[in-house]
């Protein structure tokens, strides 16, 4: 089905000023209104750790954190998140130290091909931050928006439970 070209033509679409804070860095950008947050992160800013698995909001590979909430960045237009604080997979480790969730995915073998991993880690971070006391069953359901095709989820759940335990005991 043919989409209609905007009255300006795609190449001449007016760009909009957008200010984002990504992993603590401020970016003042001019972006086309049609570009998703995912496209802005990957193509404009060059942070390619966030992955594109379906572009329809169904697989969770592009999950990032926007003002503390897990968001599928392929479903959000870049112009709508101006002024917001965004964390991507690249912003999780601090001072050369991996975040406990990243470490847990390594310790348990919670990833294989790794393509879904950034999305899983970002979604898990929000979940354990919100409530590390969730049961395994609750985490299983809460992570139902992310697809992994390699692991069968067993070791991902182990990783999330390990991270939750660590966050519980250290906070």
């Amino acid at each position: 089905m043919a989409r209609s070209t905007t009255s300006f033509g795609l190449q001449a679409t007016p760009k909009h000023p957008v200010s984002l804070t990504v992993n603590g860095d401020e970016h003042d950008l001019l972006i086309e209104p049609r570009k998703t947050l995912l496209a802005v992160l990957r193509d404009t800013i060059g942070l390619t750790g966030t992955k594109e698995g379906c572009s329809t909001g169904d697989c969770g590979a592009c999950t990032v954190i926007v003002d503390g909430k897990a968001v599928t960045s392929c479903m959000v237009l870049g112009v709508t998140v101006s002024g917001k604080e965004i964390t991507t997979i690249e912003g999780l480790a601090s001072d050369g130290e991996l975040h406990p969730i990243q470490q847990a995915f390594i310790d348990t073998g919670g990833y294989q091909c790794g393509f879904c991993t950034p999305g899983f880690i970002m979604a898990s971070k929000v979940l354990v931050d919100e409530n590390p006391d969730r049961t395994e069953e609750e985490f299983r359901h809460a992570l139902g928006g992310n697809i992994c095709r390699c692991t069968g989820y067993t070791k991902i759940l182990e990783a999330v439970l390990q991270a939750a335990e660590e966050i519980r005991t250290t906070s």
């Binding site: 572009s55 991996l98 992310n146």
Partner: protein, 766 residues
């Protein structure tokens, strides 16, 4: 305590940090300066003649830099359809533009005129004389006609063609008029013993027809490649692929250019499962667009394009018949299978033989046909063809066990081949943990103490698979700080680089953390086989072992020189070479030897390993599921799923468990959820909303059980572990549902509506 210090350990993977920090570079993360975005123009019809392709409007769109069709393929090899399209989504042209949205817009501006043709998408319809033909008159005789025709041909050499014998046979042939199959892409026939005699001697004969759907590998990273053709003609391709060397030769062949003009850089692979070997899907269009535009070009599929023009696993229809004695001996098995190969040949029809399983069945007859339909071609998916055939074989085995009143596990144990038994393919059965693996899963799942509860059921099945083998080369260098570096060319397929690293650390007796691994591109690395067919740990593990042993020889040679003794008196241990008999102890570290080597005649420590082939040993996966079925809604809930596997030797048990768990869940999904669906005009569920793959919310923890019966030629006894775990799960689930509801479902996936219907047909429910 293990006799090894590095292999056999649950160590974190070598790519751990890059994978959890977003640093790993996948295909779509490659972005050379000046890169354009490619888009493929696809057929809007499943079967049609192409009357015209008009690119003029698209060419006018600002930002468009190149448009290509089949006219731009110098070798003439088919990359784009020209006169006729055979499936919805078949490529017709491609566009490169400065922005992905402009490329998409341009693709939509290319005008294609079609003359729509009748469509056939069901194998059982496609073999009929009334079906539209995809490729002229591709017909084959069915098994009975085939036999009679063979007899006629033989006789015709000896007697007059008008002889009574021949005329009788020709009359006989008429009886099998409906055994002429149309749209046939390939056939395969196997026979051992005499099945008719076997069925005649059987007390029980069970016959059924099994339907297995086409499913997509659904690797999370869609197909992608970035190509850059420079002005000298040199082509660089960043490819997400399981086999960079195969892609190199594939591009060279398709474009008619020398191998040395192409460098393929394998990017971190976001899953493959057998579906990531294709050459023309994105790689060749990217190269052609780059050649035409003079700019680097990325061609990246959307998820929808993956479903339309990926190369999924073939569906099939298998008619299966099994005969057994009352006391549980299987005497004969016969299969007639039709595999849906789509628009081209290539479905894994030879795997139909796997209906024989790991059992002593003296009489076997297999007739298998690949059938064209208006769908994309197919490719491998984790043990290609085995899950389908084993679903039929293991479902029917349970029905026989029930009819003769035998426990399904005991029935299987009784019929399993043993070491020294003759193998249908020739030779004798090696030592394989068939019984050990099945017993292990039965024990772990609590099979022997299972209780019969309302609406609950237990299912068991086993599946066999043998890893492949292929050529590979590995170099290992030892450095002045005592560390070692591996260099090779095979794609990491979720843990294989780690296994190679563990093997080399083990032999060089240095810590795992002191060994690093680097994959080269096809310009630099030694040739390596593709990462599929469970080959990598077997092949590259053996290759790595040879390289490390070669390095050790040089190390001992240097140490003998340095310590003024014979190499025979030396021992490599804990990262140093020791004089075995020296008192007080005398040794020299690997680092010191590496530093010393730099000023010797023989030079630095570089071990080389090169390997191509050794016989592999079969592996078995055995699984048990406990399910609960809601008879009103038909919904099946998994209560327990246990998977055991004879892995030979687990070089990294954590990675091996991951393979077992992941493969089992893929098998579960094929049994219960997944199905590529086709309407009047091609695939109708090209996305994750309509093609549901499992999430963590769909099933409980998979329990894995590792069984180790060493393979004589595997590194440390290891077998390839990636493929076996998917092979039995389809039947495991079907058998569990059968046990729960008392009705056999032979058509996958077992969606709730099928359960409700099966119960209704069987006199249950409203």
């Amino acid at each position: 305590m293990s006799e090894y210090s590095v292999v056999g350990q649950k160590l974190p993977r070598v790519d751990a940090v890059e994978k959890v920090t977003g640093a790993a570079q996948y295909g779509a993360d490659v972005h050379p300066a000046g890169m354009l975005y490619g888009k493929i123009v696809r057929s809007q019809h499943a079967h049609a003649n192409i009357l015209s392709i008009d690119t003029s409007e698209a060419e006018k769109l600002p930002g468009v830099r190149a448009i290509i069709t089949q006219d731009d393929v110098p070798s003439g090899r088919r990359v784009f359809a020209t006169d006729k399209v055979l499936y919805l989504g078949e490529p017709l042209a491609a566009v490169a533009a400065t922005d992905p949205d402009i490329a998409e817009e341009a693709a939509e501006l290319i005008k294609i005129e079609y003359e729509v043709l009748p469509v056939v998408q069901d194998v059982m319809e496609s073999i009929k004389p009334s079906a539209p033909r995809l490729h002229g008159d591709a017909t084959k005789d069915g098994p009975n006609r085939r036999n009679i025709n063979a007899e006629i041909k033989k006789l015709a050499d000896e007697v007059d063609s008008n002889s009574d014998e021949i005329r009788e046979l020709e009359a006989e042939l008429e009886k099998y008029a409906d055994e002429v199959y149309y749209n046939i892409s390939a056939e395969s026939h196997t026979e051992a013993g005499d099945v008719e005699k076997g069925f005649a001697e059987s007390d029980i004969v069970v016959e059924d027809t099994y339907f297995i759907p086409r499913v997509h590998q659904t690797y999370m990273e869609p197909h992608v490649s970035v190509a850059s053709a420079d002005s000298s003609g040199k082509i660089t391709v960043w490819a997400s692929t399981q086999g960079p060397f195969a892609i190199r030769s594939g591009i060279a062949g398709t474009l008619g250019i020398p191998l040395t003009q192409i460098n393929v850089i394998g990017t971190t692979m976001g899953g493959g499962f057998g579906g990531r070997f294709g050459v023309i899907i994105t790689h060749v269009p990217a190269v052609l667009l780059s050649q035409k535009s003079g700019r680097p070009v990325r061609v990246q599929m959307t998820r929808e394009e993956e479903f339309l023009d990926g190369r999924p696993a073939p569906g099939c229809v298998i008619k299966l018949k099994t005969g057994a004695t009352k006391d549980g001996h299987i005497l004969a098995r016969q299969a007639l299978a039709f595999w849906d190969s789509g628009s081209v040949s290539g479905a894994s029809i030879g795997s139909t033989i796997r209906v024989r399983g790991v059992y002593k069945i003296p009489n076997i007859k297999i007739d298998a046909y690949g059938v064209h339909t208006n769908k994309s071609g197919t490719a491998a998916y984790r043990a290609p063809g085995a899950p389908q055939a084993i679903f039929a074989g293991e479902s029917q085995l349970d029905d026989i066990a029930e009819q003769i009143g035998m426990d399904p596990v005991k029935f299987r144990l009784m019929n399993m081949r043993e070491e020294g038994d003759s193998v249908p393919a020739g030779g004798s059965e090696p030592k394989v943990g068939y019984k050990e693996t099945l017993e292990a899963v039965a024990d772990a799942a609590g099979w022997w103490d299972r209780e019969a509860n309302d609406n609950q059921g237990w299912g068991v099945a086993v599946g066999d698979w043998t890893n492949g083998c292929g050529p590979g080369g590995v170099y290992v260098s030892v450095h002045e700080d005592g560390s070692a570096r591996i260099f090779h060319g095979s794609m990491d397929i979720t843990g294989t680089d780690t296994a190679i690293t563990q093997i080399i650390a083990e032999i060089l007796t240095i810590p795992y953390a002191n060994v690093t691994i680097r994959r080269g591109d096809t310009d630099s690395a030694p040739y390596s086989t593709g990462s599929g067919g469970s080959v990598v740990t077997f092949t590259m593990g053996n290759t790595a072992k040879l390289a490390a042993e070669d390095a050790r020889r040089r190390i001992l040679e240097l140490a003998a020189e340095r310590l003024n003794t014979n190499a025979d008196d030396l021992e490599l241990r804990d990262g140093a070479v020791h004089i075995i008999t020296a008192d007080p102890p005398k040794s020299i570290s690997l680092g010191e030897l590496a530093a010393y080597s730099l000023s010797t005649t023989g030079g630095p420590i570089v071990g080389k390993g090169s390997f191509a082939r050794q016989p592999s040993t079969p592996a078995l996966a055995a699984q048990i599921a406990k399910v609960e079925v809601d008879p009103d809604t038909g919904r099946t809930r998994v209560l327990k799923l246990v998977a055991s596997q004879d892995v030979g030797f687990a070089i990294n048990p954590m990675a091996v468990e991951g393979q077992i768990e992941g493969g089992t869940v893929q098998g579960y999904a094929w049994a219960m959820m997944e199905e590529m669906q086709y309407g009047e005009n091609g695939n109708i569920n090209p996305g994750f909303v309509d093609y549901r793959v499992p999430t963590s919310a769909d099933l409980p923890t998979v329990e894995s059980v590792i069984v180790e019966v060493p393979a004589p030629n595997g590194p440390y006894g290891a077998k390839g572990v990636g493929e076996p775990p998917i092979t039995p799960t389809l039947a495991t689930m079907a058998n569990a549902v059968r046990d729960a509801i008392g009705v056999r479902i032979t058509e996958l996936p077992i969606k709730p509506e099928k359960v409700v219907e099966a119960l209704k047909n069987n006199g249950h429910g409203a």
